[in-house]
């Protein structure tokens, strides 16, 4: 098991090395004049010359790459042109807001998607199956940014049930302020017993989380249905039936455990989706997380921010894939020895 993890980690390291090459190329090789981009549209020639030297852009590319790698490894990811603060600091400052959103969405999507998929397979070609198939295909087809807007119209404007944007109500600062410990407001308010704030935070989280969860729910339900149907068709299910084991036990325990093996891959994929899916949701709901930060950086061509976000996203992606492999080997005894 340990060897398996080590080997996978080594593989991930190689991918990250390659990724650093790609991001380096995007930052230094693709733009015709990186220094000008670094400074911004109002760059004067002398500024460009100065920055070119400062950033070492006049040195050979391999040297530049090594410098870049060294900077990345020592946590020097550059300074945001927009906010004038270190990129890594910005990223970690906004990470909790995004983690809370993605976490809430996945906590909603994974159980619900699996449940829908199992029900659909259990009642194949009957009404529950049809309903689930429609729900899942709508889930994977609906543009998240548009779904978010629709939900705002319905739940804020028409029904007046839920807040429009943001993580907390602006007044909360004065009435019952949140003491940040983890930065995950749900956790912080819960630990502090700050029920007013907890309620407010939870209400703010509903619409963004549902919006972000739509695609994962659809995809997980589809995959669970397919792999449940495959599992139900296997010899061991027939053998379990022949042995008189209860149908519910066969479906919800014996077949399900097999079906979950491919589902973990899809859960990983949807998690990866939500890394960029959150960009759209955060923009729509004005969520103060990584997504809004990244989009602002992209639109203003804040290069240090763009590179930082790219590398950060790629690292997160690699870690998700690693987690999926580990989850699979844990679920599937046949790969456990590998």
């Amino acid at each position: 098991m340990t060897r398996f993890i080590l080997r996978r980690l080594a593989g991930s390291g190689l991918v990250l090395l390659g990724l650093s090459l790609v991001t380096f190329a995007l930052a230094r090789v693709v733009p015709s004049n990186p220094a000008a981009i670094y400074i911004g549209p109002k760059a004067r020639p002398e500024d460009i010359a100065r920055v070119t030297q400062e950033l070492g852009l006049d040195r050979p590319l391999p040297v530049q790459y090594l410098t870049y790698m060294g900077d990345m490894l020592t946590g020097n990811w550059g300074t945001s042109i927009g906010t004038k603060r270190p990129v890594l600091e910005e990223i970690f400052g906004r990470l909790p807001a995004t983690l809370e959103l993605i976490g809430a969405a996945m906590l909603l999507a994974v159980p619900l998607g699996i449940l829908l998929g199992v029900l659909s397979a259990r009642w194949q070609r009957r009404p529950p199956d049809l309903v689930v198939r429609v729900v899942s295909i709508v889930g994977v087809s609906i543009p998240a940014f548009w779904l978010g807007l629709l939900l705002q119209v319905v739940f804020f404007r028409t029904l007046g049930l839920l807040p429009l944007t943001g993580r907390v109500d602006a007044d909360l600062r004065f009435t019952s302020p949140i003491v940040e410990v983890t930065g995950l407001y749900l956790v912080d308010t819960l630990l502090a017993g700050n029920w007013t704030a907890l309620r407010d935070v939870a209400w703010h989280l509903v619409l963004p989380a549902v919006t972000l969860a739509a695609y994962p729910i659809g995809l997980i339900a589809r995959m669970t249905r397919a792999s449940m149907l495959e599992a139900i068709g296997q010899d061991y299910v027939r053998a379990a039936r022949a042995a008189g084991i209860r149908e519910s036990l066969i479906t919800y325990r014996l077949a399900l455990k097999n079906a979950l093996i491919p589902v973990t891959t899809v859960v990983g994929l949807t998690l990866a989706y939500s890394l960029t899916g959150t960009f759209f949701v955060e923009v729509v709901f004005n969520w103060p997380g990584l997504g809004t930060f990244a989009v602002k950086g992209l639109l203003n061509l804040d290069y240090p921010v763009v590179m930082g976000i790219t590398l950060f996203g790629a690292i997160a992606y690699v870690l998700i894939n690693l987690a999926v492999d580990l989850a699979q080997s844990w679920l599937d005894p046949r790969t456990r020895l590998a």
Binding site: V15, G18, L19, V22, L26, V30, P31, I137, V138, V140, S141, I142, P143, A144, F145, W146, L149, L150, Q152, V153, F156, R157, L164, Y215, L219, R222, M223, A226, S227, L229, E230, G233, V266, L269, T270, A272, Y273, L275, T276, G277, F279, F280, V283, V284, V295, L298, L299, L301, V306, I309, T310, G313, A314, A316, Y317, V318
Partner: protein, 296 residues
């Protein structure tokens, strides 16, 4: 967003596949509706400017006196902040949507298919090298690479198309490689090799033509996903720029007014949704018919 992450490798089709597909579509009302939407989309993309009630407004001409009108008989989708008829904007928007998706899928195939075919046919080191490169491109969260490329190139429909193609080709390379690997062992390829036909000729004459069917099926299914991806980029401001009648851009432009003039975002967004839904429904059906296990 929503880059179709489940990419089942389409099996080589067998005889009578078209007939089976036609029968499957005819017996499934949902798929029939999907096909109808796709046909409608194609028609709008070609004839949009002649069908739209106010074609010049669809293309961007403003009509300020009639601004922000809610949906009515005259303007079924309402009008926007410049008084443009939203129905015309949505109809005229079909063309850029289709154009971008065809461009993306076409470019991605152009890069991916030869690389994948070579990798699968030659195997060995070249294969390893090509596949490591595709792995690298696939190691970014969906759309992130495309966003960064558009940001670097600057906004614009062509830049968005190029960026999407650059992040899309690895999927076709993988698909082509898988099929080419199985073709390699087939008798007609082995026969050609044994009589000394050169690798390039075999690739051109035998491998690539035979792997086009699964690729084209996948490409058809992908059109919807690409429309969604391009719309998503445009929504963030990383795609088409005004006054292009791009659906994603229209949703973004209407966002400010969403609470009062909901129709500005609602109709262009629903155009994306319906089209993507149609392609997914038809794609599911295609994969159902082509999937030998029949578990989907």
């Amino acid at each position: 967003m929503a880059v179709e992450v489940l990419r089942p490798v389409v099996d080589l089709p067998r005889a009578g596949i078209l007939r089976r597909i036609r029968r499957a579509i005819m017996t499934d009302p949902l798929a029939l509706a999907g096909v109808a939407v796709i046909v409608l989309l194609a028609a709008l993309a070609v004839f949009g400017p002649w069908i739209a009630p106010y074609p010049e407004q669809g293309a961007g001409q403003s009509n300020v006196p009639a601004r922000m009108l809610p949906p009515s008989l005259e303007h079924p989708f309402g009008t926007d902040g410049l008084g443009r008829d939203m129905l015309s904007r949505v109809i005229v928007g079909a063309r850029p949507a289709v154009a971008v998706s065809l461009l993306v899928v076409g470019l991605a195939m152009l890069i991916g298919v030869p690389l994948g075919a070579i990798a699968g046919y030659r195997r060995g080191r070249l294969d390893a090298l090509i596949m490591r490169v595709t792995d690298l491109f696939l190691a970014f969260p969906p759309l992130l690479l495309a966003m960064v490329i558009v940001a670097a190139l600057g906004p614009g429909l062509e830049h968005a198309a190029l960026a999407l193609a650059i992040s899309w080709w690895p999927w076709y390379a993988r698909l082509a490689r898988g099929t080419a690997t199985s073709l390699r062992e087939r008798s007609f390829v082995e026969a050609a090799r044994s009589i000394g036909v050169g690798d390039l000729t075999i690739l051109r004459r035998h491998v690539i033509p035979n792997l086009l069917t699964p690729i084209l099926v996948q490409a058809t299914i992908d059109i919807g996903t690409v429309i969604l991806a391009a719309g998503s980029l445009a929504f963030l401001g990383l795609g088409a720029s005004p006054p292009t009648p791009d659906w994603g851009l229209m949703v973004a432009e209407g966002r400010t007014y969403i609470l009062d003039q909901w129709w500005l975002s609602a109709f262009p967004g629903s155009a994306i949704f319906v089209v993507v839904l149609a392609f997914n429904v038809v794609g599911d059906l295609l994969l159902d018919v082509l999937d030998p296990r029949g578990t989907r």
